[in-house]
């Protein structure tokens, strides 16, 4: 019976084409508006490293005089001196300091003028912690980390641009500024969304880093941080890069990976012990809680990576879908009422109400499916439009399998919901009244 009702439903789409078109368009537009905004929200608020995001902690040490700073100032969190001490303390499985650099890459080739790269200065653990995929080679050694060796891990696109291929790059020298760095590994297009590991001064949904070098090398070469430097904690700032290293200015991230989720409290205790140690030399004047360690999702939430405008759009888009639904209820009501006499005949011939209910609900489902197909098309065009309108939406305005399925499910669900009332009304038609008026 289901297959027969399905066929009936499809053929009934062709009856009263204007009404059907209006219905499909309404449903399609409503579904597309909701799904386009939901897709953006889904990608933006996704977990960039799901299997271990609860074991990766970003550290904030508040060294200012009066307690917790606001989110806008907390993107760079740890002064260099604490990064060095904490790294020596080596709590947890792995740990890395991190700051943004923007070196010029000089290939020495005449056909390729020097160009600027975005990069991060990191510790060796960075690659294992964040599970960066390598196309060739690998991370540098512990010795390189300690000695500040001139070694570099580069992204595949840089390797292809400068050396022709990923494999050809390993072992070669890449000139950053004026200093040759030996390539130890090539990443295979690593681009977490959002780029959670370093959010300072960057679009969280923008391009990923091109190069990674040891922090010790970057500091040794006095590479200025490309993100912001927050000196609101006060204290002396002597001139020059050495002054910055000794200062209370915060300009690095510090990430710790623990072996288990439960170790978070032990981690905080470890950080508090570090602060107590530092207080002996007069640092950390604020006596309240100055330590925080947030896991990846708490971190993204804390920095408000998903803007409120995105949530606003999603709310309003679903309001829009609701209006579309009310409209479709009306249109289905009109469509089914026009067939009262047909229903009357079927009832008179012995069809029970439940059969009519099934038939008309299936017909509503068919409308939902067709509307969903249209909605899918419109969603894809809406996403394309959003990406072309605003460069910071380019990476997030993309559809995956989940959202594709969700679009169809939403559409069919919405149509079935909208169909309930008209279907119930249709199955309540009294055969006598209809037959009499013929």
């Amino acid at each position: 019976m289901f297959a027969y009702y399905l066929r009936l439903g499809v053929s009934n789409l062709r009856r009263n084409p204007a009404l059907t078109a209006l219905m499909l368009l309404t449903l399609g537009v409503g579904v597309a508006a909701s799904m386009a905004t939901l897709t953006v929200l889904h990608v933006m608020s996704g977990d960039p490293i799901p299997h271990k995001s609860e074991r990766l902690f970003s550290v904030v040490l508040d060294n200012g005089p009066d307690g917790e700073r606001g989110p806008s100032q907390q993107q760079n969190l740890v002064p260099y001196r604490d990064v060095r001490e904490l790294k020596d303390g080596a709590f947890g499985l792995r740990q890395t300091g991190l700051y943004g650099i923007a070196p010029a890459i000089d290939s020495g080739r005449d056909d390729l003028p020097p160009f600027f790269a975005a990069g991060s200065a990191v510790h060796r653990d960075f690659f294992a912690m964040f599970e960066t995929p390598f196309a060739a080679g690998g991370a540098w050694t512990d010795e390189a980390d300690r000695d500040g060796a001139r070694v570099v891990v580069i992204e595949r696109r840089v390797a292809e641009r400068v050396f022709g291929s990923a494999a050809a790059a390993v072992g070669e020298d890449l000139v950053l500024g004026e200093t040759p760095f030996q390539v130890t590994g090539v990443l295979d297009g690593w681009s977490p969304l959002p780029r959670f590991y370093r959010l300072s001064g960057q679009d969280p949904f923008g391009d990923s880093d091109d190069v990674f070098i040891p922090i010790a090398a970057a500091v040794d070469m006095q590479m200025d941080p490309s993100g912001s430097i927050n000196c609101s904690a006060g204290g002396a700032l002597e001139p020059g890069f050495d002054g910055l290293l000794r200062s209370e200015c915060s300009w690095l991230n510090y990430w710790i990976e623990t072996a288990t989720v439960a170790e978070a409290d032990a981690l905080r205790d470890h950080l508090r012990a570090h602060v107590e140690e530092q207080r002996r030399s007069g640092r950390f004047p604020y006596q309240g809680e100055v330590v925080s360690a947030r896991n990846v999702m708490q971190w993204l939430d804390f920095l408000q990576v998903v803007g409120s405008d995105v949530r606003l759009q999603t709310w309003l888009a679903f309001g829009f879908l609701l209006v579309c639904l009310v409209n479709i209820i009306g249109l289905l009501l009109a469509k089914f009422t026009a067939r009262s006499s047909e229903i009357g005949v079927r009832r008179a011939l012995g069809a029970p109400r439940i059969e009519l209910f099934k038939q008309y609900l299936i017909e509503a489902g068919v409308v939902g499916f067709a509307g969903g197909a249209l909605g899918l098309l419109l969603t894809v065009s809406a996403l394309w439009l959003m990406a072309s309108q605003s460069p910071n939406l380019e990476k997030v305005a993309r559809m995956d399998g989940t959202m594709l399925g969700a679009t169809l499910a939403l559409s069919i669900g919405a149509a079935l919901l909208a169909g309930l009332l008209p279907t119930w009304r249709a199955s309540q038609v009294r055969p006598a009244a209809q037959l009499k008026s013929q």
């Binding site: 309404t26 010029a104 160009f115 004026e178 606003l312 309003l316 409209n327 009109a334 959003m386």
Partner: protein, 407 residues
Amino acid sequence: MEIRPILSALLRSRTGAILIAAQVALTLAIVSNALFVVNDRLALSARPSGVDESVVFHIDLSPTRDIDDVAAMQRLDVDTLRAVPGVVDAAWSNQVPMGMSGWGLGLSHKEEDESLVLAAAWASPDSLVNTLGLTLVEGRDFLPSEYHEFDMRRGAMHAESIIVTRRTATQLFPDETSVVGRSVFMRTPAGFLPVSIVGVVERLKSPFAQASDNAWSGYILPIRFLGQGTTYLVRVDRPDAMPAVQRDAEAALLGLRRDRVLANNRTLSQVRDVRYAPQRSVAGMLIAVTIGLLLITGSGVVGMASLWVAQRRKQIGTRRALGATRAAILRYFLTENALITSAGIVLGLILGIVLNNVLVGQIEMPRLPLTYLAGSAAVLWLLGLVAVLGPAWRAAAVPPAVATRAA
């Protein structure tokens, strides 16, 4: 006069009327909030910068290796830019209005006072007033003798004079009309630096271009900052010469030396477009939602009214046969629709306020002014009227003879 029979007819077949009223209510709630946000975002993106944006561009160069003779390079660059035909003036600058990255340093009118006015700190060895076309409302531009050099790697920042924006003058001295000659203290990393206000400019939008009025907080320091990165602001004599001058300026600067690459060459209008792209995209999306909603609600009214007319052909014919005029039939449907729409609007006003409360809780959004509710209600009421005109007209055209036919 006709309202009672219309009402009792409505109460007999409620479903359709309720659907239309609900649709009107939801649409009103969403549209009033959406338009409010649209206006907020568009107003934000249109706020003046104080700069003559149609004739100013900025050109940024990044060094590929350390440059030793920074001061000489800056001087030669600015002289080269000024020599480009069509250039009125050029200035080295530490930041660009609405450029999204820059300096903020606190100012205070008392020494060692930690309650600082945070403002954008502009530094230039050239005249930003002249290059950006800023309006001096009080005092004067810097004199040549007032400029200092500052190298972050070697010494501390020094200056005696400062030009503030009107916004910052008000922040520092809320009760005074004239601030020229007053001393203020700038909090630098090396300590508090006393400086004397020599001029006030009407407006200069900060690089951060905040949503609050602090977007216009700022002050200019007569300081040549010896940093590696270079940003030049250039003013051109007329808007249509911009592309040519930009091209010539770029070629002239890159021709001077080989150890730097071009990072940016954008007009300030382009800078504004980049800064406000998210706001404009939200506004565009909400306008699309609003238009879509109005279309769908309109089509809903048309569809439902057509259905009613079709269902009541016989009754209409009977009324006509009993002497009702076409105008009376038309009036009937218009009144019926007005009743439904009005009920929806009353509900929509409440829903609109509820939705606004939800949004205020969820995102930072101000309270909805009643004018938006009233305006949107008027639009929806008119929309309902226009949408029902067609079906009502067809109803009025039903001939009385229909009453005499069988079905």
